[in-house]
């Protein structure tokens, strides 16, 4: 059940309505079974894995909570076992076949014959997200930053809360658990806040706008160019690369808006996961704006424990390589994702070296920094979008080999589609620019007259309905659901 499906359009109002009507503790239970229902709509067996991860981390947190602070080894032991168990599950379902294939390739390259072994497993949707969310909880308990959650239902809801279950944001227990606690205690009158509900719905609509009118609109062209890159020239590949940057932002950002909007309607505030990423003025700045929840997760639970930037430049650069390499691997069990991550590490290291050397001597205007950052990010996205490293290298290579140009309207978008894309992208740019200037579109929206608010909302809805790329000929799945 995807956010842009009719099933969700029926599911969500029912969940909201009953959530508003039932009393406190039942609300937690209701949201929990709704979340599991949502998750099981992909495959009922997925519920077993998330339940297992939930029970392991919940139980381990209680054990750690009961152990005295002086029992360092015991506490660490429990933590390590929990990490191993959860990461083990993640490894089996996501990385086992990748590892086996890689080992096989190495052995074959060394001239050693081996049998091809693969596990017959399906990658459960969202496993990377909820595993990291559960791990952040157990590590926070271990560090003592939060107390263990005794209420299993509330904790299970924390892990499985459906708006953010399959593609984030990866919430921290310190933010989400207290909200779930307060939600259970709110009366119907307190819960029903028309302004909050309208904002939530508007945010969901904006997410659908990003997903359907932009991300899904460019998808056929990007797919066509990347799958047939041998026939394409540098211009087509450049166009596809830029459009993929737009696609992945609008796909993932759109999903996040829908997730945050849905949560807001239910009375929960999820963290912001994107902050106008393509206005970044450097790679480091980009990662403070893109998939913020994952960046902060890796920062807090890997980068800083590895030493962060406290052990000299070389160690810092090594840490950056490790973090980004693993971040790439988190995105997908394939070497092209690892290369993507390492490219970002390389860019960040290069940027750091450049900044150190030129701190006071060179002033680069913001516009150039923004364009430059966008360019390197776009190049890196080629590895993200390609089927394999070979394809990615082939695509890049084609840019230097072929300088012919096909007609843009023959690549997968006709004139009308380009026009629609242009209008919608301009609107997105305007909204992002407003936010970049420190203003809030929502705040401005709230200040205008209600009829005008209604008119603008209706205009946005009609834009999604008319200009959205959905129906028989479009693949409407969210990109980040593959992780």
């Amino acid at each position: 059940m995807s956010f842009n499906s009719y099933e969700f359009a029926l599911f969500f109002p029912v969940v909201v309505l009953i959530s508003y009507l039932v009393p406190g503790r039942l609300r937690t239970f209701w949201l929990l079974i709704s979340s599991y229902f949502f998750y099981m709509s992909w495959n009922p067996r997925y519920a077993l894995l998330i339940a297992l991860s939930t029970l392991i981390t919940w139980g381990a947190a209680l054990v750690i909570g009961r152990l005295p602070d002086t029992s360092v080894r015991a506490r660490r032991g429990v933590l390590l076992i929990t990490l191993a168990a959860n990461l083990g599950i993640l490894f089996v379902f996501k990385y086992a076949n990748f590892t086996l294939a890689s080992v096989e390739s190495v052995l074959t390259a060394l001239g050693i014959r081996c049998h091809s072994v693969r596990l017959d497993v399906l990658l459960p949707v969202g496993i990377s997200f909820y595993t990291f969310q559960a791990l952040s909880y157990i590590m926070d308990v271990y560090r003592g930053t939060i107390t263990p959650e005794k209420d299993l239902l509330r904790y299970a809801l924390f892990v499985s809360f459906f708006p953010q279950l399959v593609a984030g944001p990866i919430e921290r227990s310190g933010r989400l658990l207290p909200q779930l606690d307060r939600l259970a205690g709110r009366s119907r009158a307190e819960l029903w806040d028309a302004g909050r509900v309208m904002e939530g719905l508007l945010l969901m609509l904006w997410g659908l706008f990003m997903k359907l009118t932009i991300a899904d609109r460019v998808s056929p062209l990007v797919r066509n160019v990347y799958e047939n890159y041998h026939e394409m020239g540098a211009v087509e590949i450049a166009v596809a690369a830029v459009l993929f940057s737009l696609q992945i932002y609008c796909d993932f950002g759109g999903y996040t808006c829908i997730a945050r909007g849905a949560a807001r309607v239910l009375g929960i505030e999820l963290m912001q996961n994107f902050r106008q990423p393509y206005f970044a003025r450097g790679i480091r700045d980009f990662w403070r704006r893109w998939h913020i929840s994952l960046t902060s997760w890796f920062t807090d639970y890997l980068y800083i424990p590895l030493g962060g930037n406290r052990r000299g430049a070389l160690r810092r650069y090594l840490n950056i390589l490790i973090v980004f390499g693993l971040s790439g691997l988190w995105h997908g069990a394939s070497w092209n994702y690892v290369i993507w991550g390492l490219l970002h590490a390389f860019f960040q290291i290069t940027e750091d070296l450049f900044t150190r050397k030129t701190r006071k001597s060179v002033h680069i205007p913001d516009l150039f920094r923004i364009i430059g950052t966008f360019a390197v990010v776009t190049v890196a996205w080629i590895f993200f979008a390609a089927d394999s490293c070979g394809s990615a290298i082939g695509i890049l290579g084609q840019c230097f080999r072929a300088f012919h140009m096909k007609e843009l309207c023959s690549l997968g978008l006709d004139t009308s589609a380009w026009a629609a894309l242009g209008i919608c992208t301009a609107l997105l740019l305007l909204v992002d620019l407003i936010h970049e200037k420190g203003m809030s579109v929502f705040a401005g929206f709230r200040r205008i007259a209600l009829p005008l608010q209604a008119l603008m909302s209706a205009a946005l809805l009609w834009t999604v309905i008319l200009l959205g790329a959905y129906g028989g000929s479009y693949d409407a799945s969210f990109i980040y659901f593959r992780f």
Partner: protein, 446 residues
């Protein structure tokens, strides 16, 4: 707070409806739509509709309501539409039955619109939407749209403006639409102007669903790529039969008499269908539990309706206005009991063709392959009866005998034409003491 919410919701809904109405006006071009007029007439009939005809283009081109009115002494209505499949016919029966006391329903059952796959696997939905766009909002429309396709097409089905969104970027088309919609003809739901085709034939919506076409079949010798395609009735999907049974069940519940019929087609069109009678048996077996009969008007005797008279047909599938008027008289007379079946019909297709003199229709143009195009002679003695000789004359004048009378395969009349060439094909049919011939112009070059 509630007041603010009310203002917002009211303003939002009003904005949505107004914008929707404006967008529909500027984007949707239904100025030439027949079904828009037909359904408007169905929703605002001059009297109670007593007799309803439903079906594909074979229906809307063949039933003349003014004739069937007097034939049945009732108010009749032709609710056929282009490529109307059985679920569309069900929707039309439901739509008419909702506001009329129907006494009789005639269901046209042309095999060409019976699907091989489930309704939900449809990707070509024009035949659905030309009806659904004008059905009254309600359970009938919802049921029709929800079951007519997969959910991927729901939005396109529900909102015609969604299908026409590209027009937003074509201002000249918007201007034309607005101009056409501002005419009295459009606003009064009057029939659009007659359409004149390249061959000079004229098509015009007349009244109550009937569309008249004055074209005639021009070539007696002809290539046709469908003559010998089998119907394969066992491959017709269960959805089709379920819809048919739903119509019959509805008729049974409401005390409406139901009858099934096939409209006349040129003899050439069905002569090559080796499983034509099997198709009719299949239809009858699927409706065995209902008190409904299938009447095949392709079995009409030549003195009543000549299936070889090109003046009665506008193409190889449909009768023209002249044929429709004769057919409507015959249909009315038959169902009113004024003419017995034995006077009108042959027993089956085999008897009909056997009663005719030998006729050479032309040839069935097969699908292209690397070897060439596998063709087959089309005549009214498809299974046995004579031998064939086929001579190919290329554009340069070189002649090749592709099939000769003494070849083992000659009686089957199969021959292979070259790809990428242009020329003449002379077919000679030797049967008994007769020799019939036809020349066909073949062009696989341009």
């Amino acid at each position: 707070m509630m007041r603010r919410l009310f203002i917002f919701v009211f303003s939002f809904l009003l904005s949505m409806m107004l914008a929707g109405a404006v967008l529909h006006t500027v984007l949707v071009d239904d100025t030439l739509s027949y079904t828009r007029i037909m359904l408007h007439e169905m929703h605002h009939p001059a009297e109670n509709i007593d007799v309803l005809f439903v079906g594909s283009s074979h229906c809307y081109r063949s039933i003349v309501p003014e004739i069937t009115d007097s034939g049945f002494d009732a108010y009749t209505f032709n609710a056929g539409s282009g490529s109307q499949s059985m679920d569309g016919s069900l929707a039309m029966v439901r739509e008419a039955a909702a506001r009329n006391r129907l006494k009789q329903v005639f269901i046209e059952v042309y095999y060409g619109v019976a699907p091989r796959a489930a309704y939900r696997s449809r990707t070509q939905l024009t035949g659905i939407w030309i009806l659904s766009d004008y059905l009254r909002p309600g359970p009938n429309k919802a049921s029709y749209l929800l079951n007519a396709s997969s959910s991927r097409y729901y939005m396109d089905g529900l909102l015609p403006i969604r299908r026409n969104w590209k027009r937003l970027f074509r201002p000249s088309e918007i201007a034309s639409i607005l101009k056409a919609k501002s005419t009295v003809t459009y606003r009064n739901h009057a029939a659009p102007a007659a359409e004149i085709y390249d061959d000079g034939s004229v098509e015009q919506y007349l009244e109550r669903g009937f569309v008249a076409n004055n074209g005639v079949l021009r070539d007696s010798g002809n290539w046709n790529d469908q003559w010998c395609d089998p119907i394969e009735p066992d491959r017709i999907h269960e959805d089709h039969w379920n819809s048919l049974r739903s119509i019959l069940e509805l008729c049974r519940q409401k005390g409406i008499r139901a009858s099934l019929f096939l409209t006349p087609m040129p003899d050439a069109t069905i002569a090559g269908k080796s499983d034509y009678e099997k198709y009719k048996e299949k239809v009858r077996s699927e409706i065995a539990d209902y008190d409904a009969e299938l009447t095949d008007f392709n079995l009409l005797r030549e003195d009543r309706f000549d299936g070889n008279d090109p003046a009665l047909f506008c193409d190889w599938n449909h009768i023209n206005e002249t044929g429709a008027r004769i057919f409507s008289e015959l249909l009315s007379a038959y169902y009113s009991g004024h003419i017995p079946a034995q006077e009108l019909f042959y027993r089956d297709l085999e008897e009909k063709l056997a009663a005719q003199p030998e006729r050479l229709y032309g040839a069935y143009l097969g699908k292209p392959s690397d070897e060439g195009r596998q063709c087959r002679v089309a005549c009214n003695r498809m299974d046995g009866g004579g031998t064939f000789r086929v001579v190919w004359t290329a554009e340069g004048g070189e002649q090749t005998v592709l099939l000769d009378h003494d070849d083992p395969g000659s009686p089957q009349g199969s021959f292979l034409l070259p790809r990428g060439e242009k020329g003449d094909v002379d077919i000679y049919w030797h049967i008994g003491t007769k020799e019939l011939s036809v020349r066909l112009r073949y062009n696989d070059k341009d």
